[in-house]
Symmetry: C2
Subunit: 473 residues, 2 copies
């Protein structure tokens, strides 16, 4: 882009003065909230309607200016912040956030892209409904669609794509065409499924402006426990047994390593230590069962959970050495404290891996041994979503390590872990965080050439001038 | 295509003599098994490997010959049979049907496109698993992916796209490139989601050769009942209550009209009439609850079902006038006998509609009145999947009608019903049967221009010469 002194004036003519952010207030749009990456914006524009989004896209198309769509900016791969050039416009969708339009009997909600997950759930709760994608941050719905957020309860509810009944999105052609619909059909095969393609495309194919989402009945009972496996190797069989005997009730099976638990309990002393004096075990699984059935239905998920875990502790082939029933809130507080706890131990080399879930133990065993040989000072503080094969295989470079933090070594570590995960164990290098500048090099390395070629074609189709987002495809 | 006397010889060179069907045996490939449409094939080729599929596609690309991918040929919109020109090659995938490769602890199966649904379920059953897409036919997995089959238990398990963990597909570029993967990841956002786009594309974007599918634990208990609503208007509220109180157990809520039930019971006298002497009520709902929990878990789905239905019969605002517990097999036999029963009454004008499910009663009331005015001799024999808004709004032109069957009137009826469904009530003209010659004109009429333009671009991207399938997009 050439210097464009009139940029802010041009944008104000399209979206009004209130829609153009003053330069002094750029910081929160230029810097990710949870990911450290930051860049410099040419402008920050906040359209208040789909038509205003279209006007901005038409302007960008004509001028050849690049746009970075942004929701709550809580992503972890730097996909929603501008680059260093100072030539990209941040297109914040936060003003597309009117009240969700609910149809309780249809279990649907039509929401603006800028609506926060918490706001949607606050609107749904009085109707006994929720949008049960569970994660640590409070993103916007548009951002969740762009990232295809998964979270801790995917095993029961699926990811965002599974719960997307419709969307409205602006593509970056000359007319800034609007694609999609908001009818909320649960069964529809009257054309190609554009919505599923746009979900997870990271703002690089289109700008989501509204969506129709599938809500779920709120559970009326929940049971939570910490299961202590006899070894990491038995985890796939443990998950299989949980599914076999409590299939429709199982909402979470979150793995937590000793190092991650120790870090969380140290960093957040208000947490109750559920393990007593002995400290955390080598590995623990947070298991949650829920039911929409009330207590008078005969369904008792706590009894079911105790039954399954009890069976898993019996006999010579026991899968569990122990199981601790706990208050759900307390156990989830520990789970949610893991990332901050781990971060407090040193510098985190973060991973968001996923595997065919039977492959997880072999990867972990092999990788642990290999890392111990090459960089014995690195501390594995992993945790993850075992039910869906997700593994935040986070490594900490401790504050008291014998070597100072070295980005060149970090790069070697990342290369090694990703290589083993993808090539050695059929894994994914980005399970739920999507693609952005943080990991795009690995897309180039691992995605099959034919898949990359198809993706490049899709990018040209929806965004012929390459104006949208941070991922070129 | 110009006359090509060497066609069969050329194909035999690519796939062997056994892969080329003799002209005398064309009939079953040229004529749909359940849909009456038929055409004429230039050749029928049955490759036995992905590489043979690629060879055929490369040949077709070079020669400019069109290919119609075909599974079990059980589709209902003529998408898998050749046109009348005699110039299209039927590409049957039925030989890509080796044994499914199961990973029970991962709950996944890798299957060839030609594998029958029944064969997959036979392989999964000993492991306590199933692929629970339930429908009247026995299609191939490839055909189910191409159609994105929904079926009667979508409300619990989702459609094929929801259960597709990976695929391998050949696109119609010069190299016959292979896209996709079969790793079976449940959480993966490391690129654009090609598989979800190809699902439901009706063989017009790519030829699916293998897939990795999400299996589900088999239920260990089931309860089934016929619920008799006080009116059609209460159906959305009834489904809402079922979901609220038996959310995770609800596997089916199938609506059946009096005319459809009467036809089925008349046509299949071996069926037990569950309604006693009085004959079927105006409308009935087949409700099924299932649980993976065994009987010793405390969960009793029959008790839960009775509880919910009992509540729905109480008080001045009762939703149900009656509820009949039944043997599941007997009730499903009636449900599955509806299409043949209706067909025996005369000529069927078949519809596969879907609505936002709260819109169904208004559509039905309005449409019934309008049809009665214009064509009082047409008999509505509708049934459908109320949980997901699906409605097979089938009309019968009775054998004893005052006017002989008239295709011009049928066209008027179809136009009217589709217009009211799509424009009047936010519905879909093809809920689960997909797109083919039978309904493609309505795609042109109803799909938004921007969506059609995007679909046309996708078609050009994956199939630049327009060689694949029966839908041009």
């Amino acid at each position: 882009m050439t210097a464009r002194p009139s940029l802010e004036k041009d944008l104000a003519a399209l979206v009004g003065e209130a829609g153009v952010v003053a330069r002094d207030d750029f910081a929160r749009f230029e810097q990710g909230i949870r990911y450290g990456g930051a860049g410099r914006a040419a402008a920050v524009v906040r359209p208040a309607s789909v038509e205003q989004v279209r006007a901005v896209v038409r302007y960008a198309y004509a001028a050849g200016v690049r746009l970075v769509p942004q929701g709550a900016n809580t992503g972890l791969v730097a996909a929603s912040t501008p680059d260093e050039s100072g030539e990209q416009i941040v297109l914040s969708l936060e003003r597309l956030a009117g009240s969700p339009v609910l149809d309780p009997a249809a279990r649907t909600a039509v929401v603006g892209a800028g609506t926060r997950l918490s706001a949607l759930n606050a609107a749904a709760e009085p109707h006994g409904l929720s949008f049960p994608i569970d994660l640590g941050a409070d993103p916007t719905i548009g951002g969740m669609i762009a990232t295809n957020t998964g979270g801790a309860r995917l095993i029961r509810y699926g990811d965002v794509r599974h719960n997307l009944l419709g969307l409205e999105a602006v593509i970056a052609d000359e007319e800034a065409s609007v694609v999609g619909d908001l009818r909320g059909l649960r069964k529809n095969n009257s054309g190609l499924d554009l919505k599923s393609l746009l979900a997870g495309s990271g703002g690089a194919l289109a700008i989501v402006t509204r969506a129709c989402l599938n809500l779920h009945p709120l559970p009326r009972q929940t049971a939570t426990a910490l299961a202590i496996p006899v070894s990491h190797a038995v985890l796939p069989e443990l998950v299989r047994r949980l599914e076999e005997q409590a299939g429709e009730f199982l909402t979470a099976a979150e793995g937590m390593s000793k190092n991650a638990l120790t870090a969380a309990l140290r960093h957040a002393p208000q947490l109750r230590n559920p393990f007593g004096g002995g400290g955390p075990p080598d590995y623990a699984l947070l298991v949650e069962l829920c039911s929409t059935a009330g207590p008078d239905s005969g369904v008792d998920v706590e009894q079911i959970l105790m039954g399954v875990l009890g069976e898993c502790m019996e006999g010579p082939d026991a899968l569990l050495s122990d199981a601790l029933v706990g208050r759900g809130g307390e156990l989830w507080a520990i789970r949610h404290a893991l990332p901050a706890g781990v971060a407090a131990e040193g510098q985190v080399i973060a991973f968001d891996l996923a595997f065919p879930r039977t492959a997880l133990p072999a990867f972990r065993a092999e990788m642990t041994a290999e890392l111990a040989r090459a960089w014995p000072f690195l501390k594995l503080c992993d945790f993850g979503h075992l039910g869906d094969g997700g593994d935040h295989f986070n490594l900490v470079w401790p504050k008291d390590a014998p070597h100072p933090y070295d980005p060149a070594v970090v790069l070697q570590v990342r290369d090694l872990v990703y290589d083993r995960a993808v090539h050695g164990h059929g894994g994914s290098f980005s399970a739920e965080h999507g693609l952005g500048p943080y990991n795009i090099d690995y897309y180039r390395r691992y995605a099959a050439p034919a898949d990359q070629a198809a993706a490049a074609g899709l990018k040209r189709l929806f965004d012929p001038k390459g104006l949208l987002g941070r991922v070129a495809f």
